[in-house]
């Protein structure tokens, strides 16, 4: 990641003499805290600046910065770098030596705070977006206190239950909390003909609609051609007016989602349980060229390691819990997330349990995987950048990079060490949790 070198400059240089970071005093920090508390939650006024200094900062791109400085303007990150001097007058949040800063966490697979059950057949048109409350309700507070600043909610049900939604748990620079209304289309696929049929049927519905549409278009074109050949100009006019411009057929409810899939507007998330399901998913998918990811729930005796090389080669993203499993029929422990990562798959780790305990223990649980051999940077990415990429919102969240929303988690220590807790959380440039701690 290219880092801007040299002096931090405001857009309007009110203070021409930048003060080196080392020259800063405790007093400025007090000032900055006061400013923060006073800052309005949403849509800060233009030119609203804040610098954050941290001893340790993981950017989410696989890189860890020492003595990092992040400059936030209007809820977005405008500069990130190491040992940068900060211009006088910019409020600075000077974090304690042991504090770690990470990008706001992204939970790619949740139904936190949602209730109800779904259908268990082909309902690709159902939108989880319709279920989620977008005001500052308890689920949002519940999630962000554990550092989750972005969450994707999936529709309940089996078969193909619908499309997920990506929302922010706090304020965003753009105002709307919905980052993406339609993200992945969820599909449960396994070694049974029914689940495979749903997937095939979906594409069939899309094909049927395309056929109908093509015929309709052909009919219109013929009628228009005929009308244009009309010699009597008045009659020609009248007929053309009657035909009007071409109106496509209304979309087919079931087929539309699959057309969107093919067009790359949404992605497919295949929910599988075992290695065989992966093969059956590919079999059901056939030659369809769509972007897909995997979700697998780690049961004690998951046998997914049988296909890890294939999944890795496909470069698939896998949503998976940080869970140590047992090799089937043995007491031999396996670190499947680490194995998948080594095979080349992109890990998307989610809390072990989809509740506040799971989120509270998220860092600790991932820490267990790290101590059992999972690459540390991969683990951080699996909670931030990768889920953001899977959800198609990596241009806004998931990393601490210039241009991204200022979503930051500040931890009391090393993220994967026991006892580390969330100190404070910033969403869209506003501190949404832990103001008192800063």
């Amino acid at each position: 990641m290219p880092l801007p070198q040299g002096t931090l400059q405001r857009t309007a240089p009110d203070h021409p003499n930048p003060v080196p970071v080392a020259a800063r005093t405790r007093a400025t920090m007090m000032l900055s805290t006061l400013l923060l508390a006073a800052a309005p939650a949403v849509s800060a006024p233009a030119g609203d600046l804040l610098a954050i200094r941290a001893r340790h900062l993981a950017t989410g791109t696989g890189e860890t910065l020492e003595h990092a400085v992040v400059l936030v303007e209007d809820g977005r990150i405008v500069t990130v770098g190491e040992d940068l001097p900060i211009e006088r007058g910019i409020p600075v949040l000077d974090l304690e030596e042991e504090v770690w800063v990470l990008p706001g966490l992204v939970d790619a697979y949740s139904r936190y705070g949602l209730s109800g059950s779904g259908f268990s057949d082909l309902r690709p048109y159902i939108q989880a977006a319709d279920e989620v409350r977008l005001d500052d309700s308890s689920w949002a507070r519940g999630m962000r206190q554990y550092g989750v600043t972005t969450a994707a909610f999936y529709p309940a049900g089996r078969g193909i239950p619908g499309q997920s939604v990506v929302v922010a748990t706090g304020p965003t620079p753009e105002g709307s909390r919905v980052l993406r209304r339609s993200a992945y289309l969820k599909a449960l696929v396994g070694n049974d003909s029914t689940s495979k049929r749903y997937l095939r049927d979906g594409f069939k519905e899309a094909d049927e609609w395309l056929d109908k549409e093509a015929k309709n278009r052909e009919k219109y074109d013929k009628a228009k051609e005929k009308a244009e050949k009309e010699k009597d100009s008045d009659k020609k006019k009248a007929e053309l007016a009657k035909l009007g411009s071409y109106k496509p057929l209304p979309p087919n409810m079931k087929g539309q989602a699959f057309l969107d899939l093919r067009a790359g507007k949404i992605e497919l998330l295949a929910s599988i349980n075992k290695a065989a399901d992966y093969l059956h998913f590919l079999d059901a998918l056939g030659d369809e060229d769509v972007s897909w990811h995997l979700r697998t729930s780690l049961s004690t005796e998951s046998d997914l390691f049988h296909v890890k090389e294939e999944i890795g080669e496909a470069g698939a993203m896998v949503i998976i819990e940080p869970e140590i499993t047992l090799h089937p029929s043995t007491m031999r422990q396996r670190n499947l997330p680490a194995e998948l990562h080594r095979a080349g798959a992109k890990l998307v780790l989610i809390p072990r349990a989809d509740n506040s305990t799971g989120m509270k223990e998220w860092f600790r649980d991932v820490g267990v995987m790290v101590s059992a051999g999972l690459d540390r940077d991969a683990a951080i990415q699996a909670m931030t950048h990768h889920p953001a990429a899977l959800l198609g919102v990596s241009d806004r969240v998931g990393t601490i990079e210039v241009g991204k929303d200022a979503n930051l988690v500040m931890l009391t220590g090393d993220p994967f060490e026991a006892g580390t807790e969330v100190l404070a959380v910033m969403a869209g440039g506003s501190v949404v949790f832990g103001e008192d701690e800063l």
């Binding site: 070694n191 049974d192 003909s193």
Partner: protein, 483 residues
């Protein structure tokens, strides 16, 4: 008539056209580019130096089996294999055809059609290939245990027609006979029509109404009639019925078959037996009855095609363990105890089930052109100590004992990762002592035997003393005393 002739000639002409084409095929070998691109897609496996039990009566010691794209391409000695071939050095091991299980439960995982429900990683399948099974009947389908793949699993659908014939169910027997009669009558009229229609094209094909399609399929030879019978009276009844209507019955159970083996043999019956079945005779009857350890042997002697099946057809790791589908060889070995020849015991798990399923042209023996479904064992398949070391389905290794956790630790292969560094721990004392003893003995022998022999003994003896610890030293004196 001319037209007819032309029609019959057409396939002949095609055949004739095909023969030169086939004969020409090797010629393009000269064209390097063409063959290279072809060979890239081909998958070659060479099993080198194993003792090949072909199942056709031939045993080829230290022979090679070359598989190409899932089929056995060549069997023989010093076979040439292309460079990209996967070579398995298996000298000291035996190669058998993969076993065919005539019934199974849960080997394929899932439920429903094999194509959409197979779980090619499920444990039962691993255990099954570990016990040598490469093909199994699953409900109404026959599938290959193509572990790790969804492709090439289904072999065939719908082989058996279940029929029942029991002395205790007179009406059932009656209706079966009626169905057979109706089907036979239909076939007679159909054949008549086939002849007559040549001269009179307006003749309509006889209707099948009232004819049981299943029973008809049996008489037409499209399906096998499967009976589950144990009682000698039933067996005789089935044999007579089969002879009368001209079909070969498959009889599962066949406990008292040994009493009426001649009848079953004349009917060309197949028997699927459980060699370890035990049931005492009905003491109310004077005639012989009940199970016999010799059942398989006697049936075989009388020309009955004997296949074995353990009493549980699933994988059982508790309860009925030892009599489940993993123990087909044990079941066959028990038949050997009762007098069945060993080659017939092997056939009872390979050739005969394959033939019974109508797959004799693809499975059951190691012959050129057949499916490369092979198992490599570390000993006699019928011996309880023997393990399947590798199993191949369609020319692909689907099981390697060393690679799976289940049996890898038991008698690991000497060249395997799990093998102990030295197969036998000689102990520190043994290593030190033998070299010290030998020099003492040799000078004593040398003068008495003469100077000419001494150098040769010197050159031959030391190696065993170094490598084989105590063995060489023990053998020497033993020979001396015998002399």
């Amino acid at each position: 008539m001319i037209k007819l002739k032309l029609k019959t000639l057409a396939p002949l002409a095609l055949l004739l056209a095909a023969v030169p084409a086939a004969a020409l095929q090797p010629l393009p070998l000269l064209d390097d580019e063409a063959t290279e691109s072809e060979e890239e897609d081909e998958h070659w496996v060479l099993l080198k130096g194993g003792d090949v039990y072909t199942g056709t009566g031939a045993l080829l010691r230290k022979a090679d089996v070359l598989c190409r794209d899932g089929k056995i391409a060549e069997i023989g000695y010093d076979l040439y294999a292309p460079e990209e071939a996967e070579v398995m050095e298996i000298s000291g091991y035996r190669v058998y055809p993969g076993l065919v299980a005539l019934e199974s439960r849960g080997l394929f995982g899932g439920s429903g059609s094999l194509k959409d429900s197979v779980d090619p990683f499920n444990e039962s399948m691993t255990y099954a290939v570990a016990s040598g099974i490469t093909t199994a009947v699953n409900g109404s389908e026959i599938g290959k245990l193509n572990r790790g793949r969804l492709e090439d699993v289904l072999v065939k659908r719908g082989t058996f027609v279940g029929l029942s014939y029991s002395i205790s169910n007179p009406s059932g027997r009656g209706s079966l006979r009626e169905k057979l009669e109706a089907a036979a009558a239909y076939l007679r009229t159909y054949r008549e029509w086939q002849v007559q229609v040549r001269s009179n094209k307006d003749l309509k094909e006889p209707k099948k109404s009232g004819v049981d399609s299943n029973v008809l399929a049996v008489l037409e030879g499209k399906a096998r009639a499967l009976f589950s019978s144990d009682e000698q009276q039933d067996l005789v009844g089935i044999a007579r019925l089969a002879q009368e209507y001209g079909f070969r019955p498959v009889i599962k159970g066949c406990r008292e078959g040994w009493i009426v083996a001649d009848e079953l043999g004349r009917a060309g019956a197949f028997a699927i037996i459980e060699a370890r079945d035990r049931r005492s005779k009905n003491e109310a009857l004077v005639r012989p009855g009940g199970s016999s350890i010799e059942n398989a042997a006697i049936l075989h002697q009388h020309g009955v095609q004997v296949a074995v099946l353990p009493s549980s057809t699933g994988i059982s790791l508790g309860g009925i363990v030892g009599r489940d589908i993993m123990h087909m060889p044990t079941e066959a070995a028990f038949a050997v105890r009762g007098g069945l020849p060993e080659d017939a015991a092997i056939a009872s798990m390979t050739t005969i089930p394959a033939r019974l399923l109508g797959l004799g042209h693809r499975l059951g023996t190691i012959e050129e052109g057949k499916d490369a479904d092979l198992i490599v064992t570390d000993g006699d398949l019928l011996h309880y100590r023997t393990f399947v070391q590798w199993a191949l389905v369609g020319g692909r290794v689907v099981y390697d004992k060393e690679a799976e956790l289940y049996f890898a630790h038991i008698r690991p292969r000497p060249d395997g990762e799990l093998a102990p560094e030295s197969p036998v721990d000689p102990g520190e004392d043994d290593i030190v002592e033998p070299p010290a003893e030998e020099p003492e003995e040799e000078p004593a022998e040398e003068p008495s035997e003469g100077s000419g022999d001494a150098p040769t003994e010197d050159s031959t003896e030391p190696p065993p003393a170094e490598g084989g610890s105590g063995e060489g030293a023990e053998e020497g004196p033993a020979e001396d005393t015998a002399d």
